[in-house]
């Protein structure tokens, strides 16, 4: 009995941690795709860029880990404004297919550029000592880094939810996404609003890429390899919702870990079965606004 309880605790913890890693790297997409309605498959590009910024800041310039995270957020967010103004903004009203084709093209370019600059090897991540090792609670050890990720994600989802649901900026974003012409006519500068929101989403992607770099390796094919996870989290959570992706990531993380722990012979596929089942049950996702 004792050992069963112990393994349930382990699975719950590691599942939550994996879920939060998925959430951290996908949260940006829940802003650009979920809120702004842009089918931004190139989300992983921003996450990868964040990872590269973080590892470069640490290994080349000796920046401490928290500062490197901030730098990743700011730099990726700033760079995305340029991209948004030059490219993305032209496609806000375009069809999904055009957005998908454009962003896939962007991935190919980014993969080639990353390979050219950094080569094919993954980037080493140097964690600060206080994130290494184990964290003891009730006689069991938990990896400190994963405890940190869970806490960080919980804070982030709280802040985002507050920002979108309770602030004036959030109200403006929701208004502009629902009816851009009307929002503009009541005096909202939607162009600026979209630029800033897009920068926030991309910055969060960069932050997530940096934060998860220890587990999801930073290398040139990152945007392609992890695309499925980003999309699963946002699709299962439901477009237009911020809580949705959080719950979805948690569910997927726990389900995946539980299957791997108790039934490893089924391999990697339970996560996809769960996705299909949830989407059949609720095609708009768990918390989707539009059916």
């Amino acid at each position: 009995m004792q050992s069963v309880l112990a393994s349930v605790v382990s699975v719950a913890f590691h599942g939550a941690a994996l879920g939060m890693i998925l959430y951290v790297i996908s949260v940006g997409l829940s802003v650009t795709m979920g809120l702004m309605g842009f089918a931004n498959l190139a989300h992983g590009v921003f996450a990868m860029a964040g990872g590269y910024v973080l590892t470069t800041a640490i290994s080349r310039f000796g920046a401490p880990f928290p500062l490197a995270l901030v730098v990743a957020f700011v730099l990726v967010g700033a760079a995305s404004i340029v991209l948004e103004r030059l490219l993305y903004s032209r496609l806000y009203t375009a069809s999904d297919l055009e957005q998908v084709l454009f962003t896939i093209g962007l991935i190919f370019i980014a993969v080639a550029v990353a390979r050219f600059i950094y080569g094919t090897l993954q980037q080493p991540v140097v964690l600060p000592d206080y994130l290494k090792g184990q964290f003891s609670l009730l006689g069991r050890d938990f990896p400190t880094y994963r405890v940190f990720i869970i806490a960080f994600s919980a804070v982030m989802v709280g802040l985002l939810w507050f920002g979108v649901e309770r602030t004036r900026w959030g109200a403006m974003v929701r208004a502009a996404v629902d009816n851009r012409a009307m929002a503009q006519s009541v005096g909202i500068d939607t162009k600026r609003l979209f630029s800033l929101t897009f920068a926030l989403g991309s910055g969060l992607a960069g932050l997530g890429g940096g934060l998860g770099a220890e587990i999801i390796a930073i290398q040139p094919t990152y945007p392609f390899e992890n695309l499925v996870y980003f999309l699963v989290v946002v699709a299962v959570g439901g477009l237009g919702s911020l809580r949705g992706p959080f719950v979805a990531a948690l569910l997927i993380g726990v389900a995946d870990t539980a299957c791997k722990y108790w039934a490893p012979q089924f391999g990697a596929f339970p996560i996809y079965v769960a996705t299909i089942a949830i989407l059949l049950w609720r095609p708009a996702g768990l918390f989707g606004r539009h059916a």
């Binding site: 090897l121 080493p124 050890d141 990896p143 880094y145 999801i216 791997k260 490893p264």
Partner: protein, 396 residues
């Protein structure tokens, strides 16, 4: 005067033509993984092939040239590899197939090499059964049995219980079977085993399983590269090193170029393998020096580079012995006799019976030497190891 120049030009031209006509080009088709998440693996092999060709032009008969045509299979992708091999044979008319980063890719191309009678030099893929798939296959890399069986035998003297965690594909199954045999024959007990899917981002659940079984050692095999780094990090994150559980395995789990990514958690990991970049044999020292001169101080060749390097040496040997006129059956006869004392990994030969590599296996430990993590060779656990799987199962 003018006339003289014209004549001279004509004569020269004729000479150049004649030289070109007698110059013979041997084509080698190389199928490697050069893009996608595992691009590093193929790149390490490709660099070795190019470096060998650059430094060993004098080993070819006069007038003979070797041209390597490289194709990218993008990863463990048997259909794509087969298609590429077919194109190389039919369209490019290659006289050798080479490369083969992955077992499934080598297996799918094997029937082509039999049908077209094109000798195929396996420079990496390490599942034992591959060489039995075609009489035109020769392997210059390694088999998982070669390293995992001696590892099991050695581990049985040090540890009472072990947990096995391997990737769920050919080489993983080989490593599992070989280690189990060596370990249990020596009196050790396997307390649990798990097969991990090949595409897997998070190793924590599997390592937690291993931890809960509280073994003395975990024997692990995953493909070299980022997966090996990920499993090592999971081992560290769960504090298995501090709990006194040793991590052991074939050298794939601590390849030289990945050690910096793994960090200090890899310290003390014990492996049995045929090659370490840190080995101080003179042949290895000059190989490393040539590599660093060509590709930079920070670049390190891997065991895959050495498999490709020796594979090229075998191909050059066959070309040299036939004076550039390649006959597939004659080539295979020569390759069966191939021996080298100048390989960076020590003395090697091809077993004439099985066409598989024969080499020494070394016990290594990850240690910090001058601030850098290295696979330090402690002892030679066995010399001239033939593939044990073929001996046990009586396969050729």
């Amino acid at each position: 005067m003018n006339h003289a120049i014209k004549t001279a030009t004509l004569v020269l031209g004729a000479l150049v033509c004649a030289a070109q006509a007698s110059a013979q080009t041997i084509k080698v088709g190389s199928v490697l993984t050069l893009s996608g998440p595992n691009a590093t693996l193929g790149e390490n092999m490709d660099r070795a092939i190019k470096l060998y060709m650059k430094l060993n032009q004098d080993k070819l008969p006069p007038g003979v040239k070797v041209e390597v045509i490289t194709r990218d299979d993008g990863g463990p992708n048997p259909d794509k590899a087969k298609q590429l091999s077919q194109e190389l044979i039919v369209r490019d008319k290659v006289q050798f197939l080479a490369g083969m980063t992955w077992t499934p890719n080598a297996m799918s191309s094997a029937p082509l090499s039999t049908e077209a009678k094109v000798p195929m030099v396996i420079m990496n893929a390490g599942t034992s059964v591959i060489t039995t798939m075609s009489p035109y296959i020769v392997r210059t890399s390694f088999t998982l049995w070669q390293s995992s069986l001696p590892m099991g035998t050695w581990a049985a003297k040090k540890f009472k219980t072990a947990y096995i965690a391997v990737s769920d594909f050919g080489p993983g199954h080989d490593a599992q079977a070989a280690f189990t045999k060596g370990f249990t024959d020596g009196g050790g007990k396997i307390v649990g085993e798990v097969r991990i899917p090949l595409a897997n981002p998070d190793f924590i659940p599997f390592m937690q399983r291993a931890k809960d079984a509280s073994p003395d050692a975990i024997f692990g095999f995953v493909p070299a590269g980022k997966q090996a780094t990920a499993i090592m990090k999971a081992y560290g994150e769960l504090g298995l090193d501090k709990a006194g559980v040793k991590f052991i395995g074939p050298g794939d789990i601590t390849t030289d170029e990945e050690l910096p990514n793994m960090g200090d958690v890899s310290l003390g990991v014990l492996t049995v393998f045929h090659y370490s970049a840190a080995a101080n044999r003179p042949a290895n020292k000059s190989f490393i020096a040539a590599w660093k001169k060509e590709y930079g101080e920070n670049s390190t060749p891997s065991f895959m580079s050495v498999g490709a390097w020796d594979g090229m040496d075998a191909i050059y040997y066959a070309i040299r012995e036939q004076k550039g006129k390649i006959d597939p059956d004659k080539t295979m006869e020569l390759l069966r006799q191939y021996k080298s004392s100048t390989s960076p990994r020590g003395p090697i030969s091809i077993d004439p019976e099985t066409r598989d590599i024969v080499q020494n296996e070394y016990l290594r430990e990850v240690r910090k030497v001058g601030g850098k993590l290295e696979n330090v060779e402690l002892e030679t656990v066995q010399t001239a190891v033939k593939d044990p799987w073929k001996i046990i199962n009586n396969k050729k």
